[in-house]
């Protein structure tokens, strides 16, 4: 008897059909006076922020002062949760890394992965795939046309 294939449907996941960035908003708060905000101030005036906003057009970036407080970056996600990172006394390159961390994260709470499970690409082989797990951030990517020409990621 011929082997019948099992009819299965693919599990719905973000990125399977279309990838939707979970981070929808980034709030940058700085202080004009406090010394811990110097790095943040230089980050805001540097070309790093405009490049970030151009490469991530789906993220709403808001910049506002927060006097007499340390500088923070607040990220809002689609699931309604927020994540905040205090970037006091950091340089602008370090702040950029934190921004990328927030952008790439989802809104889920950071939980400890128990059992040492391996994320496998091929649905249950129990070991890491040779080619690795797919992510939307690698490869050619897709460009967005803002009317000024395509902006490549």
């Amino acid at each position: 008897m011929p082997v019948k294939a099992l009819r299965t449907t693919s599990t719905a996941r973000n990125g399977l059909g279309a990838f939707i960035l979970q981070c929808k908003r980034l709030d940058f708060h700085y202080c004009d006076h406090w010394g811990s905000s110097r790095g943040m101030n230089s980050f805001l005036t540097s070309p790093l922020l405009p490049h970030l906003s151009l490469t991530n057009p789906s993220i709403h970036i808001s910049i506002s002062p927060r006097p007499s407080h340390h500088p923070i970056i607040r990220a809002s996600y689609i699931n309604g949760r927020e994540k905040v990172i205090c970037v006091r006394n950091l340089q602008k390159e370090q702040i950029l890394k934190k921004v990328e961390l927030l952008r790439d994260a989802g809104g889920e709470k950071v939980r400890r992965v128990k059992g040492g499970r391996v994320v496998d690409s091929f649905g249950g082989i129990g070991r890491e795939g040779v080619r690795g797990v797919w992510s939307p951030y690698h490869g050619e990517g897709r460009g967005v046309d803002w009317g000024r020409g395509k902006v490549e990621r």
Binding site: L44, H60, I61, P65
Partner: protein, 442 residues
Amino acid sequence: MAASQIGVVAGRRSLQATSRSHYTCPQCQLCAYRASHKTSSPLRHLPARRHASFMDSETWRKRIWGPNPPGPKDLYKDGPPSFLDQMREKRQRDKQEEPRDGEGKTEALEEGIEGNDNTEGYKPATTWEKLPRIGGDTWAKNQYVSTHSFEGFMYSKLESREEIIMAIHQALVEVFALKQADLPLSMDVNPTTSMPHNEYLRWLAEDASFEKTENGETQLVLGSKELQDAIIDSIMPKEPTEDETTEAGAVMEQQQPIEEGLAEATNLEQVDDAGGLGGPALATDRQHVEADNTESVETSEAWPLVESLDPANIDDDGRPIAPANDSWRDVPLENQAVKFAVLKRVMQLTGTRISDPNIGSITNSKILLTHLVKKPKPKKLADNLISKELAELPNVQISKRRYGLIDKEKEVGRWKVIKQELEKFGLQPIKGRGIGRKPVTL
């Protein structure tokens, strides 16, 4: 056995009984011990109320003063009444002398009413509107401040670069004019001239410049002798009148030894302290000299050389008055007497005080300018960001104010709904937070 003996024996037996059969706590044991040993207390001979009066001070007094000590034997009994006793007696005397409530006050009121006969047009007030208010937290201070206005040495500050440059040029010309005329480098506290300030400045800007001689020294070059006379006549200290000499003389005598010490130590030219930066003497001298100036100047009008220059320091063409050339920039200020005279005059003209640590670093007029011209106030970061291309990006929002909860609600569009609901319940929407929050007026 007597009753007392029975009682004592019973007591002893009870003690013995308790010690053998029953447990007694340490506290009870202590009480029993004290009761039994009460008669032999070491402090028994001292009175319960310890006062220094019971101590025999005679032996100590004899030890200190000898066989015949002065003063009363017992200060507490025989001596004068203590301070507290004196105060108590005084209070009692005052109470007896005080009139009873209302007696003294009504007498004073009656006197006041009797003295004031002019009651025409008098109408007792029903409210306190338009009535003069006397007393309160700041009333006394305001009364003093309104009658004692302070006029400092330095006038209103100059802000613009052109005015400061003209002030430096004027100060340099005046000091060098005095130096070349072999006159002491002392100026009148309130210099005046026979022409308006604007004209004087224009004359200085056009006809005064600096040149370097063959020896390398800087020399002032004036266009005409009249200009030199006008400068010297305006800034030379005027002689005070007879009334002022007696008052100013007392002040001068106090400062003379200081001047002599300075002159000896540093070999500087004598600086007349009437025009100097000394604080307390200055105000009185200035007032006297001001009064004197109006009398001594022969022309009909005396124009002060220090004014608020905002509208006046402008040419007929509408441009600010500026020196004709830049020769004033390279004038050296290494001679200490010249330097201090220039700095004093510049501070008076510009209203900007140069601090002592910075004075040492000033060696020429160019450096002096850098200390006087204020740097522009640093802009807020929000202003910087708005002016850049970042603000033009469609997904970027920049705000100058702190982004608060109400701003968040407004963005989403919920604030209108919240406000309407609050008004339905008769509550006013709150603006701000904390103690300083104010209700929004509808």
